[in-house]
């Protein structure tokens, strides 16, 4: 008998967890009271790192756009490029990557530690399904909060690009705003936020899967946490391409 490849194990694992989570969703009493707490832990606490990344992304994008457009395209296009790139791609993806590290590691390490200290077994012996009690609230919270954090990051990134353009480039606020408005479509925003919701879902689910698969003490927790972060980042890139193919 040939053993399954890592990729097929990965896909099978995601599928099994998704099915299990779907079944667990019906146990509302177990997960609903924890969602707000998890939203604060996974989402609100992640806002500073997301904003930090957004500030520097906005700066670099404005300078890069100016470098590319100077002498070829009117400079107000800087606003268009900053807006489009941050709303549709860099905001969701860079925020997602940062949160894959922070949120994915947090979930995998916490649940992994609970697993190796028999807290997950204890939960089961108390007649609670760990999928309902541990997985669903985290997945729901991450799915709801990734777009919120991304929205903040988009706003800050655009403002950062505008401030950079006004102070470091030969561009006025009116010109930057003109560029921003000329190519703006509502789809730019919902496309980015929809993507980020899917990133949150995947990152949380992968973190939970690796947390629940932990064995072997502290070393096992470290191993599963690393895997959760790596697979979370991979999932974001795959989903990013998927949404681009489907929606653009």
């Amino acid at each position: 008998m040939t053993s399954a490849s890592p990729f097929s194990r990965f896909v099978t694992g995601i599928g099994a967890n998704t099915r299990a989570a779907t079944r667990a969703i019906s146990d509302v009493e177990a997960w609903a009271p924890q969602v707000v707490t998890q939203m604060a832990r996974l989402g609100v606490a992640s806002i500073p790192i997301a904003l930090f990344i957004a500030v520097f992304t906005g700066v670099v994008l404005a300078l890069l756009a100016s470098y590319i457009f100077t002498g070829a395209v009117p400079l107000y296009f800087v606003g268009a490029l900053v807006g489009k790139a941050i709303m549709m791609e860099l905001g969701p993806v860079l925020t997602g990557m940062a949160l894959a590290g922070r949120v994915g590691a947090n979930i995998a390490a916490e649940i992994g530690t609970m697993k190796v200290t028999e807290q997950v077994d204890a939960l089961e012996t108390l007649a609670w399904d760990p999928r309902s009690y541990l997985v669903v609230p985290r997945v729901v919270a991450a799915t709801l909060m990734f777009p919120v954090v991304t929205a903040f990051a988009i706003g800050v990134g655009v403002v950062s690009g505008w401030i950079t353009s006004v102070n470091l480039l030969d561009l006025s606020t009116v010109e930057f705003e003109k560029g921003l408005r000329v190519f703006y479509q509502f789809k730019d925003v919902w496309f980015g936020l929809l993507k980020s919701a899917s990133f949150g879902f995947a990152v949380a689910l992968i973190g939970c899967r690796h947390g629940l698969a932990t064995h072997g003490g502290a070393e096992g927790v470290g191993r599963q946490t690393t895997r959760a972060v790596a697979e979370g980042c991979m999932a974001i890139l795959v989903l990013d391409a998927f949404w681009a193919v489907v929606l653009l």
């Binding site: 530690t113 200290t117 807290q119 007649a127």
Partner: protein, 241 residues
Amino acid sequence: MIRFDNVVKRFSDRVVLGGVSFDVADGGTTVLLGRSGSGKSVLLKHVVGLLSPDDGAVLVDDRRVADLDEDGLAGLRREIGYVFQFAALFDSLTCRENLELALRRRVTDPGEIDRRIDDALTMVRLPDVAGRYPAELSGGMRKRVGIARAVVMRPRYILWDEPTTGLDPVTTATMDEMMLQVRRELGVTSLVVTHDLSSAFKIADRLVLLHEGTIRAQGTPDEMRANPDPVVRQFIEGRPE
């Protein structure tokens, strides 16, 4: 009654349980003895369906644990309290919340929940720790809160996994007294896993010695003390190999 019927369990190629059969009589305390790594805790986990046998069966009141669906298993688990070796309290919850979690699906009246939690913490002689987190307690206190979490459900059975391991002699004696008190006051059936002989002989109605994956001997404390089997003698007298 809990019945182990020719239970076989393998992990990869390693046979941990090679056909274990014995009964845990209602109302009594059965102590499962054995050296470290002999499969005692593995056997305990079969009773609540945390593990399933590769062969044979574990029956609780004639229900085959491995055949129960999710609802059946949840129902069974509501009848069984489990005291974990290192307590396995939820770090993120206070002691009161740990006990509350055990009750939330069994009792709906908030007054009754409070009363039961207070009674359970008083029984384990820790009435003042309700608002503290497990990390703020000593190992012995955590184990006692673990016992409170098991008894607060008023179960029919309690499974004790190494309740005295790692404790000082005074705390060990307190734990022994607590196990006897739980039996006396709640009338539960206990299955205790330990390799602490002094504790075992103090609390047991019946002792079972697990050796190399099979039952080597079983009987009352007096019968075990008189057992001439060299493996039993070596274990009881604590002689090296």
